[in-house]
Protein backbone atom coordinates (compact mmCIF):
# COMPACT_ATOMS: atom_id res chain seq x y z
CA UNK A 1 0.00 0.00 0.00
CA UNK A 2 1.11 3.49 -0.77
CA UNK A 3 -0.66 4.99 2.21
CA UNK A 4 1.07 3.54 5.22
CA UNK A 5 2.91 6.76 6.02
CA UNK A 6 0.21 9.25 5.28
CA UNK A 7 0.92 12.39 7.34
CA UNK A 8 -1.50 13.13 10.13
CA UNK A 9 -2.36 16.48 8.62
CA UNK A 10 -3.61 14.84 5.43
CA UNK A 11 -5.68 12.34 7.40
CA UNK A 12 -7.25 15.18 9.42
CA UNK A 13 -8.02 17.26 6.36
CA UNK A 14 -9.54 14.28 4.60
CA UNK A 15 -11.77 13.41 7.54
CA UNK A 16 -13.05 16.95 7.72
CA UNK A 17 -13.64 17.17 3.97
CA UNK A 18 -15.78 14.05 4.21
CA UNK A 19 -17.65 14.91 7.40
CA UNK A 20 -18.20 18.64 6.80
CA UNK A 21 -18.07 19.21 3.07
CA UNK A 22 -18.11 22.83 1.89
CA UNK A 23 -21.33 23.78 0.06
CA UNK A 24 -21.19 22.83 -3.59
CA UNK A 25 -17.93 20.93 -3.22
CA UNK A 26 -17.16 17.29 -2.70
CA UNK A 27 -13.75 15.70 -2.46
CA UNK A 28 -12.97 12.10 -1.70
CA UNK A 29 -9.67 10.28 -1.78
CA UNK A 30 -9.16 7.51 -4.25
CA UNK A 31 -9.12 4.00 -2.81
CA UNK A 32 -5.64 3.12 -3.92
CA UNK A 33 -3.98 6.49 -3.36
CA UNK A 34 -4.99 8.59 -0.40
CA UNK A 35 -3.14 11.60 -1.82
CA UNK A 36 -5.27 11.57 -4.96
CA UNK A 37 -8.77 13.07 -4.70
CA UNK A 38 -11.79 12.99 -6.95
CA UNK A 39 -13.39 16.38 -6.72
CA UNK A 40 -16.74 17.80 -7.84
CA UNK A 41 -17.53 21.48 -7.83
CA UNK A 42 -21.00 22.78 -8.63
CA UNK A 43 -21.06 25.86 -10.83
CA UNK A 44 -21.83 28.82 -8.55
CA UNK A 45 -25.24 30.47 -8.87
CA UNK A 46 -25.32 33.62 -10.98
CA UNK A 47 -22.18 32.55 -12.80
CA UNK A 48 -22.07 31.25 -16.39
CA UNK A 49 -21.33 27.85 -14.85
CA UNK A 50 -24.56 27.65 -12.85
CA UNK A 51 -26.19 24.25 -13.17
CA UNK A 52 -22.93 22.60 -14.13
CA UNK A 53 -21.20 19.79 -12.30
CA UNK A 54 -17.44 20.06 -12.76
CA UNK A 55 -15.12 17.17 -12.18
CA UNK A 56 -11.57 17.84 -11.03
CA UNK A 57 -8.65 15.84 -9.78
CA UNK A 58 -6.34 16.86 -6.96
CA UNK A 59 -3.04 15.42 -5.84
CA UNK A 60 -1.03 16.16 -2.72
CA UNK A 61 2.64 15.97 -3.67
CA UNK A 62 5.22 14.53 -1.33
CA UNK A 63 6.18 18.05 -0.15
CA UNK A 64 2.61 18.94 0.86
CA UNK A 65 1.85 21.11 2.85
CA UNK A 66 5.14 22.87 2.09
CA UNK A 67 4.11 22.76 -1.58
CA UNK A 68 0.65 23.42 -2.97
CA UNK A 69 -1.73 20.66 -4.04
CA UNK A 70 -1.88 20.02 -7.77
CA UNK A 71 -5.36 20.44 -9.20
CA UNK A 72 -6.94 20.44 -12.61
CA UNK A 73 -10.37 20.30 -14.23
CA UNK A 74 -11.35 17.12 -16.02
CA UNK A 75 -14.60 18.62 -17.28
CA UNK A 76 -14.19 20.93 -20.26
CA UNK A 77 -14.81 24.52 -19.23
CA UNK A 78 -14.76 27.89 -21.01
CA UNK A 79 -12.92 30.14 -18.58
CA UNK A 80 -10.04 32.61 -19.13
CA UNK A 81 -7.99 31.21 -16.24
CA UNK A 82 -8.33 27.55 -17.16
CA UNK A 83 -6.59 25.99 -20.15
CA UNK A 84 -7.53 23.19 -22.51
CA UNK A 85 -5.93 20.60 -20.27
CA UNK A 86 -7.88 21.87 -17.27
CA UNK A 87 -4.87 23.53 -15.67
CA UNK A 88 -5.80 26.43 -13.44
CA UNK A 89 -4.12 29.82 -13.13
CA UNK A 90 -4.59 30.70 -9.49
CA UNK A 91 -2.00 32.47 -7.34
CA UNK A 92 -2.44 30.28 -4.27
CA UNK A 93 -1.58 27.22 -6.36
CA UNK A 94 1.71 28.86 -7.26
CA UNK A 95 3.70 31.64 -5.57
CA UNK A 96 0.99 32.58 -3.06
CA UNK A 97 0.77 29.11 -1.58
CA UNK A 98 1.15 28.92 2.17
CA UNK A 99 1.10 25.82 4.37
CA UNK A 100 -1.63 27.56 6.37
CA UNK A 101 -3.95 26.94 3.42
CA UNK A 102 -5.73 23.63 3.01
CA UNK A 103 -7.39 21.45 0.41
CA UNK A 104 -10.67 23.05 1.44
CA UNK A 105 -9.40 26.61 0.90
CA UNK A 106 -7.98 25.64 -2.48
CA UNK A 107 -11.31 24.22 -3.62
CA UNK A 108 -13.24 27.21 -2.28
CA UNK A 109 -10.86 29.50 -4.19
CA UNK A 110 -11.45 27.55 -7.38
CA UNK A 111 -15.20 27.81 -6.83
CA UNK A 112 -14.74 31.58 -6.34
CA UNK A 113 -12.70 31.78 -9.53
CA UNK A 114 -15.73 30.40 -11.39
CA UNK A 115 -17.78 33.31 -10.05
CA UNK A 116 -15.11 35.85 -10.89
CA UNK A 117 -13.17 35.06 -14.05
CA UNK A 118 -10.06 37.21 -14.32
CA UNK A 119 -9.23 37.90 -17.99
CA UNK A 120 -6.34 40.17 -16.98
CA UNK A 121 -4.32 37.20 -15.77
CA UNK A 122 -5.19 34.68 -18.43
CA UNK A 123 -4.09 31.15 -19.03
CA UNK A 124 -6.11 30.81 -22.22
CA UNK A 125 -5.23 33.85 -24.31
CA UNK A 126 -8.06 33.35 -26.78
CA UNK A 127 -10.74 33.00 -24.16
CA UNK A 128 -9.41 36.02 -22.24
CA UNK A 129 -9.44 38.08 -25.42
CA UNK A 130 -13.00 37.00 -26.08
CA UNK A 131 -13.91 37.99 -22.51
CA UNK A 132 -12.37 41.42 -22.85
CA UNK A 133 -13.71 42.28 -26.28
CA UNK A 134 -17.22 40.89 -25.91
CA UNK A 135 -18.01 39.74 -22.40
CA UNK A 136 -21.67 39.02 -23.06
CA UNK A 137 -20.82 36.69 -25.91
CA UNK A 138 -18.02 34.99 -23.94
CA UNK A 139 -20.44 34.40 -21.07
CA UNK A 140 -22.90 32.84 -23.54
CA UNK A 141 -20.18 30.48 -24.77
CA UNK A 142 -19.33 29.58 -21.17
CA UNK A 143 -23.01 28.82 -20.52
CA UNK A 144 -23.22 26.71 -23.62
CA UNK A 145 -20.12 24.71 -22.70
CA UNK A 146 -21.60 24.21 -19.24
CA UNK A 147 -24.73 22.72 -20.85
CA UNK A 148 -22.71 20.63 -23.29
CA UNK A 149 -19.98 19.26 -21.05
CA UNK A 150 -20.96 19.79 -17.42
CA UNK A 151 -24.57 18.69 -17.35
CA UNK A 152 -23.61 15.94 -14.93
CA UNK A 153 -25.10 13.25 -17.12
Amino acid sequence: MANSNLPRRIIKETQRLLSEPAPGISASPSEDNMRYFNVMILGPTQSPYEGGVFKLELFLPEEYPMAAPKVRFLTKIYHPNIDKLGRICLDILKDKWSPALQIRTVLLSIQALLSAPNPDDPLSENIAKHWKTNEAEAVETAKEWTRLYASGA
Binding site: A2, N5, Y36, E57, P61, E62, K70, R72, K84, L85
Partner: protein, 147 residues
Protein backbone atom coordinates in the same frame (compact mmCIF):
# COMPACT_ATOMS: atom_id res chain seq x y z
CA UNK B 1 12.76 7.56 -6.47
CA UNK B 2 11.86 7.96 -2.82
CA UNK B 3 15.04 6.59 -1.31
CA UNK B 4 15.93 8.19 1.97
CA UNK B 5 12.51 9.70 2.46
CA UNK B 6 11.78 7.67 5.54
CA UNK B 7 10.13 4.84 3.68
CA UNK B 8 7.23 6.93 2.43
CA UNK B 9 6.20 6.06 -1.08
CA UNK B 10 4.25 8.80 -2.71
CA UNK B 11 2.74 7.67 -5.97
CA UNK B 12 2.15 10.44 -8.49
CA UNK B 13 -1.05 9.55 -10.37
CA UNK B 14 -0.94 9.10 -14.14
CA UNK B 15 -2.40 12.45 -15.19
CA UNK B 16 -0.22 14.53 -12.90
CA UNK B 17 2.80 12.53 -13.94
CA UNK B 18 2.04 13.26 -17.61
CA UNK B 19 1.49 16.95 -16.83
CA UNK B 20 4.98 16.97 -15.28
CA UNK B 21 6.41 15.32 -18.36
CA UNK B 22 4.59 17.79 -20.59
CA UNK B 23 6.03 20.75 -18.71
CA UNK B 24 9.50 19.28 -18.79
CA UNK B 25 9.20 18.65 -22.52
CA UNK B 26 8.04 22.22 -23.12
CA UNK B 27 11.05 23.64 -21.27
CA UNK B 28 13.42 21.61 -23.42
CA UNK B 29 15.65 18.76 -22.39
CA UNK B 30 19.43 18.81 -22.05
CA UNK B 31 21.28 19.52 -25.29
CA UNK B 32 18.10 19.30 -27.35
CA UNK B 33 19.02 16.09 -29.17
CA UNK B 34 15.87 14.45 -27.82
CA UNK B 35 12.53 16.19 -27.45
CA UNK B 36 8.85 15.39 -27.27
CA UNK B 37 5.46 17.03 -27.22
CA UNK B 38 1.79 16.21 -27.10
CA UNK B 39 -0.05 15.57 -30.37
CA UNK B 40 -3.50 16.76 -29.41
CA UNK B 41 -3.70 19.74 -27.07
CA UNK B 42 -7.39 19.00 -26.50
CA UNK B 43 -6.89 15.45 -25.24
CA UNK B 44 -7.42 15.78 -21.51
CA UNK B 45 -5.92 12.30 -21.04
CA UNK B 46 -2.69 13.21 -22.87
CA UNK B 47 -2.35 9.93 -24.73
CA UNK B 48 -0.56 10.63 -28.03
CA UNK B 49 2.93 12.09 -28.15
CA UNK B 50 5.54 12.71 -30.78
CA UNK B 51 9.19 12.31 -29.88
CA UNK B 52 12.20 13.41 -31.86
CA UNK B 53 15.75 12.09 -31.76
CA UNK B 54 18.65 13.68 -33.58
CA UNK B 55 21.03 10.95 -34.70
CA UNK B 56 24.20 10.80 -32.59
CA UNK B 57 27.64 11.81 -33.91
CA UNK B 58 30.00 9.27 -35.42
CA UNK B 59 27.22 6.91 -36.41
CA UNK B 60 25.29 6.28 -39.61
CA UNK B 61 22.49 8.23 -37.97
CA UNK B 62 24.46 11.46 -37.66
CA UNK B 63 22.52 14.45 -38.97
CA UNK B 64 19.27 12.53 -39.35
CA UNK B 65 16.14 13.54 -37.50
CA UNK B 66 13.93 10.69 -36.37
CA UNK B 67 10.31 11.05 -35.40
CA UNK B 68 8.60 8.59 -33.10
CA UNK B 69 5.08 8.09 -31.84
CA UNK B 70 4.50 7.29 -28.20
CA UNK B 71 1.13 6.27 -26.87
CA UNK B 72 0.45 6.44 -23.12
CA UNK B 73 -2.60 4.39 -22.31
CA UNK B 74 -4.72 4.56 -19.15
CA UNK B 75 -2.32 2.21 -17.37
CA UNK B 76 0.76 4.42 -17.93
CA UNK B 77 3.16 4.70 -16.12
CA UNK B 78 2.48 1.33 -14.48
CA UNK B 79 2.92 -0.03 -18.00
CA UNK B 80 5.26 1.47 -20.59
CA UNK B 81 3.88 3.46 -23.50
CA UNK B 82 3.83 1.82 -26.91
CA UNK B 83 6.64 3.26 -28.96
CA UNK B 84 7.16 3.21 -32.71
CA UNK B 85 9.36 5.02 -35.14
CA UNK B 86 7.53 7.13 -37.68
CA UNK B 87 10.73 7.83 -39.63
CA UNK B 88 12.23 4.78 -41.29
CA UNK B 89 15.25 3.39 -39.50
CA UNK B 90 17.23 0.21 -39.43
CA UNK B 91 17.90 -0.77 -35.83
CA UNK B 92 18.01 -4.14 -34.11
CA UNK B 93 15.19 -3.35 -31.68
CA UNK B 94 12.87 -1.84 -34.31
CA UNK B 95 10.46 -3.91 -36.38
CA UNK B 96 11.42 -3.50 -40.04
CA UNK B 97 7.87 -3.39 -41.29
CA UNK B 98 6.02 -1.39 -38.66
CA UNK B 99 8.66 0.71 -36.91
CA UNK B 100 7.52 -0.62 -33.54
CA UNK B 101 10.21 -0.66 -30.86
CA UNK B 102 10.02 -4.27 -29.71
CA UNK B 103 10.08 -4.50 -25.93
CA UNK B 104 11.75 -7.91 -26.06
CA UNK B 105 14.73 -6.30 -27.77
CA UNK B 106 14.78 -3.06 -25.84
CA UNK B 107 15.52 -3.52 -22.15
CA UNK B 108 14.01 -0.29 -20.90
CA UNK B 109 10.56 -1.32 -22.12
CA UNK B 110 10.99 -4.99 -21.18
CA UNK B 111 12.05 -4.12 -17.64
CA UNK B 112 9.82 -1.09 -17.30
CA UNK B 113 9.62 0.69 -13.95
CA UNK B 114 7.07 3.26 -12.96
CA UNK B 115 9.61 6.05 -12.53
CA UNK B 116 10.88 5.76 -16.11
CA UNK B 117 9.74 8.56 -18.42
CA UNK B 118 9.33 9.23 -22.13
CA UNK B 119 12.56 11.21 -21.90
CA UNK B 120 14.32 8.08 -20.62
CA UNK B 121 12.98 6.08 -23.56
CA UNK B 122 14.16 8.61 -26.14
CA UNK B 123 17.55 9.07 -24.47
CA UNK B 124 18.05 5.32 -24.28
CA UNK B 125 17.06 4.87 -27.93
CA UNK B 126 19.59 7.52 -28.89
CA UNK B 127 22.28 5.59 -26.98
CA UNK B 128 21.12 2.42 -28.69
CA UNK B 129 21.68 4.06 -32.09
CA UNK B 130 25.33 4.52 -31.14
CA UNK B 131 25.77 0.96 -29.83
CA UNK B 132 28.24 -1.23 -31.77
CA UNK B 133 25.46 -3.41 -33.25
CA UNK B 134 23.59 -0.37 -34.62
CA UNK B 135 26.00 2.42 -35.39
CA UNK B 136 27.14 1.08 -38.76
CA UNK B 137 23.93 -0.60 -40.00
CA UNK B 138 22.96 0.36 -43.54
CA UNK B 139 20.06 2.81 -43.37
CA UNK B 140 17.06 3.37 -45.66
CA UNK B 141 17.06 6.62 -47.66
CA UNK B 142 16.50 9.65 -45.48
CA UNK B 143 12.96 10.99 -45.18
CA UNK B 144 11.11 7.69 -45.55
CA UNK B 145 8.24 6.86 -43.23
CA UNK B 146 6.82 3.64 -41.82
CA UNK B 147 3.25 3.12 -43.01
Amino acid sequence: MTLGSGGSSVVVPRNFRLLEELERGEKGIGDGTVSYGMDDGDDIYMRSWTGTIIGPHNTVHEGRIYQLKLFCDKDYPEKPPSVRFHSRINMTCVNHETGVVEPKKFGLLANWQREYTMEDILTQLKKEMAAPHNRKLVQPPEGGLFD
